[in-house]
C-alpha cells in the first residue's frame, strides 16, 4: 500500500508524467479519428470512431507494460530495490505496489481518453453498466500486462533497453489486431494471428460491451471471434499465471 502511495505521490510531484501519459493516447485518438477515419469506410452507424475507441483503449492499457517496466528498471539502477529488499517487509510489497499504482494511473488515463473520445464523436450505445464493465475489463488487462512489465523491468539492464523491448512487444501486438483496421484486409495467415491475438479479443470484447457488432473476415465463427470476452479473460488468467510467479522468482534473486 505504501509503495502504491509512493507511486501516486511521485505522480503528483511530476505532473508531466501524468500529462504525457494521457497526451499520447489522446493524440492517437485524434490522429486515427481524422487521418485514417476519413479513408477507412465502414457501415458502422456513428462512423469509424466507434470502432476506433475500443482499439485505442486497449492499446493504451497495453502500453502499461512499458511504463511498469521502465519505472522498475530505473529503481533497480538507483539501488532502491536493494534498499527495499533489505527492509523487513513483504518481499512482494514492492512489485505488488507498483502494479497497483500503474493500474490507478490507467484509471485516470482511460477517463481522460473517454472524454476525448466523446468530444470527437464516440457514443457507446450499450448503457452505463456495460461501459463501466468494459473499463473494468480494460483495467484488468492492464494489470495483467504490468506483470509482464515487472519481469521485463527486472531482467533488463537499462531503462532505455526496457523502453525498446516493451515497444517491440507491444507494437506488433496492437497493430496486428483488429484495433485500428478490420482484419479482413490482411493476408490470411495474419488474419489467424490477429484473431487469436489477445489485443484483438480485448478489442472485440470491448466493442461488444460498448454495443457494437464485430466484423470478421476469414476467421468468422472461430472460438475467439465468437467469445471475445471469455477468451480475453482466459488470456489474462494465463498471463498472470505465468508472469506473476516468474516475476516473483526473478525479484527474489534480483541481484544474483
Amino acid at each position: 500500500m505504501i509503495i502504491t502511495q509512493r507511486q501516486l505521490r511521485l505522480l503528483t510531484r511530476v505532473p508531466e508524467v501524468l500529462i504525457f501519459s494521457t497526451i499520447q493516447p489522446v493524440m492517437f485518438v485524434l490522429l486515427f479519428r481524422y487521418v485514417f477515419g476519413g479513408s477507412i469506410s465502414t457501415d458502422q452507424p456513428g462512423g469509424y470512431v466507434q470502432l476506433l475507441m475500443p482499439g485505442i483503449f486497449v492499446q493504451t492499457v497495453a502500453f502499461t507494460l512499458a511504463g511498469t517496466a521502465s519505472g522498475l528498471a530505473e529503481d533497480m539502477k538507483k539501488g532502491l530495490i536493494d534498499r527495499f529488499r533489505s527492509l523487513p517487509i513483504s518481499q512482494l510489497a514492492l512489485i505488488m505496489g507498483r502494479t497497483l499504482g500503474d493500474s490507478l494511473l490507467n484509471i485516470v488515463v482511460l477517463a481522460v481518453m473517454g472524454i476525448a473520445g466523446y468530444i470527437v464523436g464516440w457514443r457507446p450505445t450499450s448503457g452505463l453498466l456495460s461501459v463501466v464493465i468494459g473499463f473494468v475489463f480494460l483495467l484488468l488487462f492492464g494489470y495483467a500486462l504490468s506483470w509482464v512489465g515487472i519481469l521485463v523491468g527486472l531482467s533488463a539492464s537499462d531503462a532505455r533497453v526496457v523502453q525498446n523491448v516493451s515497444f517491440i512487444v507491444t507494437f506488433p501486438l496492437t497493430f496486428l489486431s483488429n484495433a485500428f483496421a478490420p482484419t479482413t484486409g490482411m493476408p490470411r495467415a495474419l488474419q489467424y494471428f490477429a484473431e487469436w491475438n489477445p489485443v484483438s479479443t480485448m478489442v472485440a470484447g470491448c466493442r461488444e460491451l460498448f454495443g457494437l457488432e464485430n466484423q470478421f473476415g476469414a476467421t468468422a465463427g472461430s472460438f475467439p471471434s465468437e467469445n471475445p470476452l471469455l477468451t480475453s479473460f482466459l488470456y489474462m488468467i494465463i498471463i498472470m499465471a505465468i508472469f506473476i510467479p516468474l516475476s516473483v522468482r526473478k525479484y527474489k534473486r534480483a541481484s544474483d
Binding site: D82, P88, S255
Partner: protein, 330 residues
C-alpha cells in the same frame, strides 16, 4: 559477542568465471567498527550484499546479530540498516517524504514515522532542506539522507558500503562526523571503503581484502607494525650527504637509502625517538645541520602496497561486478 560473523563465504558470478569472494571470513565485535578495505573489484560490495541478505553465497555461513543470514533473512532484515554506494532515495520526492515513507514501510504508523523522520533530519542537519526534492541536494546531503533512511528503526548492525565514494572532501568530512556520532551511540558498524584514510579514521579494526580474500586484519596500528616499524628521514645539504649516510646507517644498524632529488636519507629504525636523538647528536658532532628531520610511521598505503604488491588506488578503470549491475568506477 560477535555481531557479525562471516565464515568461508564463496560467491562466483557468470557460472564461476568471476570469483568475487574466495573463502572470505571475518567478524565484527559488538559495538565496534570494522572497516573492510580493498581496491575496486576486491569483493567488498559482494560481501556486504551477502551479509545484508541481498545475495545468497554459493557456500559458507554468515550470522548477523546472532541470526543466520541464509536461513532467516527476514529476521536479519529487522536488525540491520544498509546504506549503499548509491543514494537509494527517490529523487523526485523530498527528504521528508522519503523518510516518512520508509518509516511507514517499517510499519511505524504515520505519526511515529513523521516524528522519527523529523528527528533524523534534525540530527543530520537536513531540516532546512527537508521539503525540497532530493534532486536539489548535494552529493553529501543525499548520502546523509540515505544513511538516515537506514537508521529509521535504530538498527543494531549497520552496513555502509563505500559511504563517501564520490563525495568531495567537505562532504566526506561531514559524513565522517555523522558516522562517528553513530558509533558513539553504540551501533555495530561494518564499513567498506577504498580510502585508507577513511579506514584509519573510523575503524577500530581493519580487514584488508583483495581478490575476495582477507589478506590481513588488525588495528590500524597493528597493520602498520606488520609492515615494519618507523622510518627515520633526514634532509641535508648536498655536500653533507656522504657523511650523513654513514651516520644514519651506524645509528640505525640498517641500510640507509638516499633520495637524491630530495636529498633525503632514510632508514628503518626500531628504537624510534631514541634513534632520532642519537642521530642528531652524531650529526651535530660532525658539524652537520640537517635541513629537516622526521620520524615517519608507515601509512596504510605502505601497508597495502606491501600486502598486495600493488598500490591501493588503481587508476585504471576496473569493472566491479556487483550482481547484475555493472558499473565502472574511477
Amino acid at each position: 559477542m560477535k555481531s557479525v560473523i562471516a565464515e568461508d563465504l564463496v560467491k562466483t558470478y557468470r557460472n564461476g568465471a568471476v570469483r568475487a569472494l574466495d573463502h572470505l571470513s571475518l567478524d565484527v565485535e559488538e559495538g565496534t567498527v570494522l572497516s573492510v578495505l580493498g581496491p575496486n573489484g576486491a569483493g567488498k560490495t559482494t560481501c556486504v550484499r551477502i551479509l545484508a541478505t541481498l545475495l545468497k553465497p554459493d557456500s559458507g555461513r554468515a550470522m548477523v546479530g546472532g541470526i543466520d543470514v541464509i536461513k532467516h533473512p527476514e529476521k536479519v532484515r529487522e536488525v540491520i540498516g544498509l546504506s549503499g554506494q548509491y543514494a537509494a532515495v527517490d529523487e523526485i520526492l523530498t527528504g521528508w517524504d522519503n523518510l516518512v515513507m520508509f518509516g511507514q514501510l517499517y510499519h511505524l504508523g504515520k505519526k511515529a514515522s513523521i516524528a522519527r523522520a523529523e528527528e533524523l533530519l534534525e540530527r543530520f542537519s537536513l531540516t532546512d532542506s527537508a521539503k525540497r526534492p532530493i534532486k536539489t541536494y548535494s552529493g553529501g546531503m543525499r548520502r546523509r539522507l540515505d544513511l538516515a533512511a537506514s537508521l529509521i528503526v535504530k538498527p543494531k548492525v549497520l552496513f555502509l558500503d563505500e559511504p563517501t565514494t564520490g563525495l568531495d572532501p567537505r562532504g566526506r568530512q561531514e559524513m565522517w562526523s555523522v558516522i562517528e556520532e553513530l558509533v558513539k551511540g553504540g551501533v555495530t558498524l561494518l564499513l567498506t571503503t577504498q580510502y585508507l584514510e577513511e579506514a584509519d579514521q573510523l575503524a577500530d579494526e581493519i580487514a584488508v581484502i583483495d581478490h575476495g580474500k582477507v589478506i590481513a586484519r588488525g588495528t590500524s596500528d597493528a597493520l602498520k607494525k606488520q609492515v615494519g616499524g618507523e622510518r627515520l628521514e633526514i634532509v641535508v645539504e648536498t655536500q653533507n650527504i656522504a657523511k650523513a649516510l654513514e651516520v644514519v646507517a651506524t645509528v640505525s644498524g640498517n641500510k640507509a637509502t638516499l633520495d637524491e632529488g630530495l636529498r633525503m636519507i632514510s632508514s628503518p629504525v626500531s628504537t624510534g625517538a631514541t634513534a632520532l636523538i642519537e642521530t642528531l647528536r652524531s650529526l651535530d658532532a660532525a658539524g652537520i645541520h640537517p635541513l629537516d628531520v622526521g620520524l615517519k610511521r608507515p601509512s596504510l598505503d605502505d601497508v597495502f602496497l606491501s600486502l598486495t604488491g600493488h598500490a591501493a588506488e588503481e587508476k585504471s578503470e576496473e569493472v566491479e561486478v556487483t550482481g547484475r549491475r555493472k558499473k565502472a568506477k574511477k
